[in-house]
Amino acid sequence: MALIELDDVRRTFTVRAKAGRLRREKREVRAVDGLTFTVEAGECVGYIGPNGAGKSTTIKMLTGILVPTAGRLRVAGVDPARERVALARRIGVVFGQRTTLWWDLPLRDSYELARRLYRIPDHRYRANLDRCVELLDLGALLDTPVRQLSLGQRMRGDLAAALLHDPRVLYLDEPTIGLDVVSKAKVRDFLREVNRDLGTTVLLTTHDLTDIEQLCDRVMVIDHGRVVHDGGLEALHAAGDSERTLVVDLAGSHPPIEVPGARVVRVEGPRQWLAFPSQESAAPVVAAVAARYPLVDLSVREPAIEDVIARMYAEVAIG
């Protein structure tokens, strides 16, 4: 059963730009330019692309905030633009950078409001709240005012709020942005369970490749308002599997260091950048550096999503 269906969906914006002293020029910008895809019930789809590619315009059309300029769109059996309120009862939305919780009130109050606003039957509300509290470890936080929660705690609170009304589709916009490693892991574990155990369809935008790797079985890359890749994660892996970077701070300036299994790509005073294959563990490289050189500090950088997308483009162009 297809839960999300798009058929040649387009969205243009009219931008007025100054041209000369008083004249203003109207210009059409195609934010989404002919999207056609379906998402089946129970899928977990990563929706990625560079900034300004049309990701958020798509999400806004799927949630009923924006109306498409052309094309056909259905989510959970509803036309989002025409039945916004009916749609709202069937979807859950989490914005990573904006909370929907009530700032000055205990977490529990936000959930109580959702119960009334979404007209959630009592038994469903209790069951869903209990499950979220357990899985997201919210028990101790329920009576804490939201303003006192950490970013990670608040995100967990937001996730619970988006799921109390048994949504068929869950949209997540950068759900792990700004979170620490432990919180990220908790959020991902939870999303996996929601997707697997409840069959909730998940559509997720993110800049964090690990989110996609750990959660999604399908990834869509969008650019200039069009889908440029839609499929499994293999392409992502092929592109992402290239190299990671180990950044080391030595005690002093050094000529490029020599470490087996890695090569120096950049030197800047006491700091050096070493590239090594993504599938290899960083541990032997780190150990090798530490054994031979006065190592002060280090970090490992994953390939950035933009790099990966760029590589995918390259492959599309070649293939």
Binding site: R271, S281, D297, S299, R301
Partner: protein, 304 residues
């Protein structure tokens, strides 16, 4: 991430540290260069505020429209009053109407209704950044005073001049007879802004103790509108109220500048009026400094 345990917090992280304001040279014993450096800094801050407000051109236009509408309304009611009682409070019909238009020009410039830097401070309270602000190397009070002066300079042009122009086109108004009066008026307006800043600064700092400092603002708004003479010249206040109102700091906001503009005070009277403003400016800034000190201490004790 198989190496998650290897590196706890990212030491060579991707996020750059937030920019810090440049510390004005604060070495002791170099008073004059210090003062110069500080003045230069505050001048830059004021210029920045001027430019920031200047970008809201449409807002200024809409605001000037509102000032003009209120000017038209109040001028009508004043004309009705002076029609019934010519010469009331030492104003004739022309000076009474002029009073309305000058005070409408001052309303936003002097921030009689509050606002200006207060909105920024309120936002800093909401985000919690206010505790950090107290520890910045730039002086908290001086910084906000500079921004408010920059804002006022812009508002004098954008929100002060248009209602004056419209008013003088639609009604008969009295312009100063002596050219120097314009200079005195400008001086009185600057002092009015500083006094107004002193009051608003104290109001904003209540945010350290009261969560609902918006409430304090709405209360001071009405008090300020009433005692500044924005709604009715203080000369019309009777009895004890009439004795008291000209002594309060709000009299420095509208009463003094309009008195200067209409040349109701000249010579020694003019000096006294400007001195009155200066006195309140000093007292309020000192009080603000004291409260700022208490706030800093409170933040230290409670950690914000």
């Amino acid at each position: 991430m198989q190496n998650a345990g290897l590196h706890p917090p990212d030491p060579v992280g991707d996020t750059p540290a937030p920019p810090r304001p440049r510390r004005p040279d604060a070495a002791p014993g170099r008073f004059a260069p210090d003062l110069l450096a500080a003045l230069r800094l505050y001048a830059a801050v004021a210029r920045g505020a001027f430019r920031r407000f200047a970008t809201y051109r449409a807002a200024s236009l809409a605001g000037a429209f509102t000032n003009t509408v209120f000017g038209l309304i109040l001028a009508s009611t004043f004309l009705a009053l002076w029609h019934a009682r010519p010469g009331l409070g030492g104003y004739d019909e022309v000076t009474a109407v002029t009073y309305i238009w000058v005070s409408q020009g001052l309303l936003v410039t002097v921030a009689v209704m509050g606002g200006g830097f207060q909105d920024d401070v309120q936002e800093r309270f909401r985000s919690g950044d206010i505790a950090i602000d107290l520890y910045r190397p730039v002086d908290f009070q001086g910084w906000w005073l500079a921004t408010d002066l920059g804002r006022a300079a812009f508002h004098l042009l954008a929100r002060g001049v248009p209602p004056m122009l419209v008013g003088s086109l639609v009604f008969r108004v009295r312009l100063p007879e002596h050219p120097l009066t314009w200079v005195y008026f400008l001086l009185a307006t600057v002092l009015a802004v500083v006094v107004s800043f002193g009051v608003r600064f104290l109001v904003s700092l209540t945010g350290f103790w009261l969560q609902d400092s918006e409430g304090v603002r709405s209360v001071t708004l009405v008090v300020s509108m009433f005692f500044s003479g924005m709604l009715l010249p203080l000369a019309l206040f009777p009895g004890l109220l009439g004795d008291l109102a000209p002594l309060l700091p709000w009299a420095a906001l509208v009463k003094v500048p309009t008195d200067v503009f209409l040349e109701r005070v000249t010579g020694p009277g003019l000096l006294g009026a400007l001195g009155f403003q200066l006195g309140w400016a000093v007292v309020l800034l000192a009080a603000g400094r004291l409260v700022q000190l208490l706030a800093t201490r409170k933040v230290v004790v409670q950690g914000g």
